[in-house]
Each structure stands twice: as structure tokens, then as C-alpha cells.
């Protein structure tokens, strides 16, 4: 930590810089916790698949859902993350930010809707073995987190007026891009496991 000798002189810039630093630290910590959460699911996937108890990893006739559809969900998630990332960089101007954040929000809502639809119309029942269980559980956990992130994104949009929280705290708002990118990356790993490795 850089030692500051004049910190007893509180000034707005120092407070804002501190706020940014804290949000940055908090974001990294939250992502570290989240990766252990998803690692538990990936462990469950590999473990149940290796054990294949009673040959019931997949019951007869259970196949992964459409790969194309799954890819669409992942691409939408990635689009959300990339759109917000580009718009929230400090170098991007206010115009780009106010354009791309709602675009990201639309992509985010689409991701949740598409994933939700897929979960509602799975081609297999949840009782048909280990694979369906892990598929349903992991996808549900992911989409819940992505949904909450989308809700937060919506609040970034609604607070983007001139006196809003987003504008006042533009720097911390840019850390949210890392959360979206993280969730999109998790979505990619889930896709590889659930659709390709299966």
C-alpha cells in the first residue's frame, strides 16, 4: 500500500479514488468466491461422469440438447459482456457508454430468456440420470447469477442520468464489466462441458 502522508486532508478526489479501489478489490474477491462455486459443479460433472453408477450417467435416449441453441445462449452472454466492456472503458466517451449499456442490457435479457426457455423445454426429464441433473443444476445456477447481473445492469442504465449514481461513480461502474466477462467465460466452460464433453 502506498503510504500517504496527507490523508488527513480529506478531499473529494481522494475519497473517489478510495471508493474505486474498494470496489475493484471487492469485485476480485467476489469473482474468486464465484469460481469456487462453479468449480464445485464442474467437480460434480466429472465425478458423476467417471463413476457412472448403475450406468445411469445418461439414461437410455438422453442426449445433450441442441448444440446450436446452447451456442446461441453463450454468444448472447458474450455479447452482453463485450458490449458493456467496450462501453464502460474510461477511454470510451459518454456517448458510447450511454449507447452500449442499454444494448448490453438487451443482450442480457435475451440470454436469460433463451436459457430459461431451454431449461423449460429440456428434451429429457430431470430424473433420467446424473447428466440431466448436472445439466439442469449448473445451467439454473448460471442463469440465476446472470439474471441478477442483468438486473444490476438495468440499474446502471436507469442511474445513467446526469446526476445519477452511475455518472458520479463511473470508474466503479467499469468494474462490473469484469463480472459480466467472468459470467460469460463460465458460460463458455459450461457449454464445453455440458454439450461437447457431455
Amino acid at each position: 500500500m502506498a503510504v500517504r502522508t496527507r490523508a488527513y486532508e480529506a478531499d473529494a478526489a481522494a475519497v473517489a479514488a478510495l471508493d474505486t479501489r474498494l470496489v475493484g478489490i471487492g469485485t476480485w474477491l467476489a469473482l474468486a468466491a464465484d469460481i469456487f462455486f462453479f468449480a464445485a459443479w464442474w467437480f460434480a460433472f466429472f465425478y458423476l461422469r467417471a463413476l457412472n453408477n448403475n450406468q445411469a450417467w445418461k439414461a437410455q435416449g438422453v442426449a445433450p440438447p441442441s448444440r446450436g441453441y446452447g451456442a446461441v445462449v453463450v454468444v448472447l452472454a458474450l455479447a452482453t459482456a463485450v458490449a458493456y466492456f467496450v462501453g464502460s472503458r474510461p477511454a470510451a466517451g459518454a456517448f458510447l457508454f450511454r449507447l452500449l449499456t442499454p444494448v448490453a442490457l438487451v443482450f442480457g435479457l435475451a440470454t436469460c430468456l433463451f436459457q430459461g426457455y431451454e431449461l423449460w423445454h429440456l428434451g429429457f426429464g430431470l430424473t433420467e440420470g446424473g447428466y440431466p441433473s448436472v445439466f439442469a443444476g449448473l445451467s439454473t445456477a448460471w442463469v440465476i447469477q446472470f439474471g441478477l447481473a442483468t438486473a444490476w445492469l438495468a440499474s446502471i442504465v436507469t442511474q445513467a442520468g446526469p446526476a445519477g449514481d452511475t455518472v458520479a461513480r463511473r470508474q466503479p461502474a467499469s468494474f462490473f464489466a469484469w463480472i459480466l466477462l467472468f459470467l460469460a467465460a463460465i458460460g463458455i466452460v459450461n457449454y464445453i462441458l455440458l454439450y461437447l464433453v457431455a
Binding site: 503510504v3 502522508t5 467437480f43 466429472f46 465425478y47 467417471a50 463413476l51 457412472n52
Partner: protein
Amino acid sequence: MSWLNPLTWPIEPWVLLGVEVTAILYLWGRTNHPPPLWGRVGVRGWSAARWRAIAFWSGLGIIVLALDTPLETLARQLFWAHMTQHLLLIMVAAPLLVVASPWLQIWRGLPLSVRRPVAKAVVKHPAFAGLRRVFAVVATPAAAWIISSANLWFWHWPAAYDLTLRNHLVHHIEHGLFLGLGILFWAQVIDPYPFRARLSQLKRVVYVFTAMIQAWALAALLAFATVPFYAYALLTTRPGGISALTDQQFGAGIMWVPGSITYSIVFITCLYLWFNEEDARARTFSAQTAEVLR
């Protein structure tokens, strides 16, 4: 074949040659390279030069132990013995060699008439520009982490692993990569004198911790597997009469716990060194504040 009779050991010619050439260059370099250059005072009254020499010879000794003793024969039959070899290379020999930092001394072992043109060419010649760029990228901490981890996982992929059992050249390449990339990894967290690793002490702590987690992931994958992955399963008997699955699990256990010892030692050492940095910062701040407040 017996451990007691070195004449029966399965000496690999290339390994022995490599070790010998390195040792000879090191000794020649010593005469060209007076010890006072090594600088910093060592531990327990012995100079840093002496500790580095001990580390160097131990490192070479571990390489010989891993690759040129009956352990090599065992490794062709037992998965866990093979993992022990790899761990000796990556977790013992590589860090010892980084601590030893013999690069300058080995380099000085070559005659000046060889060193000068080679150095000039590598550093300045346009033909090597691509190589310099690649090296600049590879030597960054992030790249070193990714490459050494990817290398670890690659050689545990069943197809690659079985290839090393069939093809001798590939097997040498595998061991060479483990050693070389191991040195690259440990050089990011142990200062390879006269250079310094780029990461701050605190970042080294995180670096080592994350590397340990990925090594655990591989060990866990093998430990929890319910079928043997490798061609060893085709062998009908193993020394000790253990099954292929038990062999694999035991090897995974060795990778998991003893394989974490070096990571833990470096983790703790970097924590200690970080405290030294913080202490220095604290003293500076106190002195500054005392001035300001006087």
C-alpha cells in the same frame, strides 16, 4: 539391476551427456568467474556463492537420480514411480537450479571466442528478432504460468502419455520440457540472480497459490478416476502386484500432497520477504512522519 551397483543403472546417454556438459562448463566458468561477483552475504556464515553451488550440484544430482537410476526402470512399469520422476524434476531440481542461478557461470565456461559472436547475434542480429519477441512474451509471468500449466496438463493426456512410453525421443522431450518450463515457472517467483523476478513479493504469493490449485485439479482428476487412463493398464503385472487403478490413485496422491510441498515453501518464503518490504516501508514512513510532526 540394483540400486547398489551403479554399473547396472539404466544410464540414458543424452541425459548423462547433458549433465556432464553442464557440470564441466560450470566448473570452467568458476575459474573464469571469481566468486566475489556473487555479492550478497549468505546464511549461517557461508557465502551466497557456496549455497548456490550446493543448490546447483544438488539439482544436477536430483536430475541424475530421477532419470539415470533404477527409478527409470520402475517408472516404465509403475505410474506412481513415473510421477515421482516428474515431481523430482519439476518440484525439486528446477527450483534448486533457479536458486543456484548458474547461468552466468555456465555461460562464462564457454570460451570468449564463442561467447562474443553468439551473444552479439542473439541480442542484435535481425534474424533472431522473431526469437527475441517470442522470448519477451514467454518470459512474462502470466505467459510462464499458462505455458508451464498447459505443458503439465498436455503430458497427462492419455494419448500423449502413452506416446512417451512408446517413443524414446518424445520421452526425452517430455522430461526436457518439464525441466525447462519448470525453471521458467520458478524463475518467476525465485529471483534468478543476477536478474530479479518481475513480480512483487505479494504477487508471487498469489502466483504460487493459483499454480498450486491447478496442480491439485489435475491430481484430483486422477485420484477420483474410476478407470486407469494410461497404457500401463495393458501390463498384466506390476511390481508389488497392485492393480493399475491403485497405481494411478497412488500416483495422484503423490502429485497432490508431496507435490505441494515446494509450492508451500515458496508461498511462505515470499510471505516472509513481503514482510521485509513492508517493514522497510514502515520505517521510511515513520521517519518521514517524525520529521513532519516535529
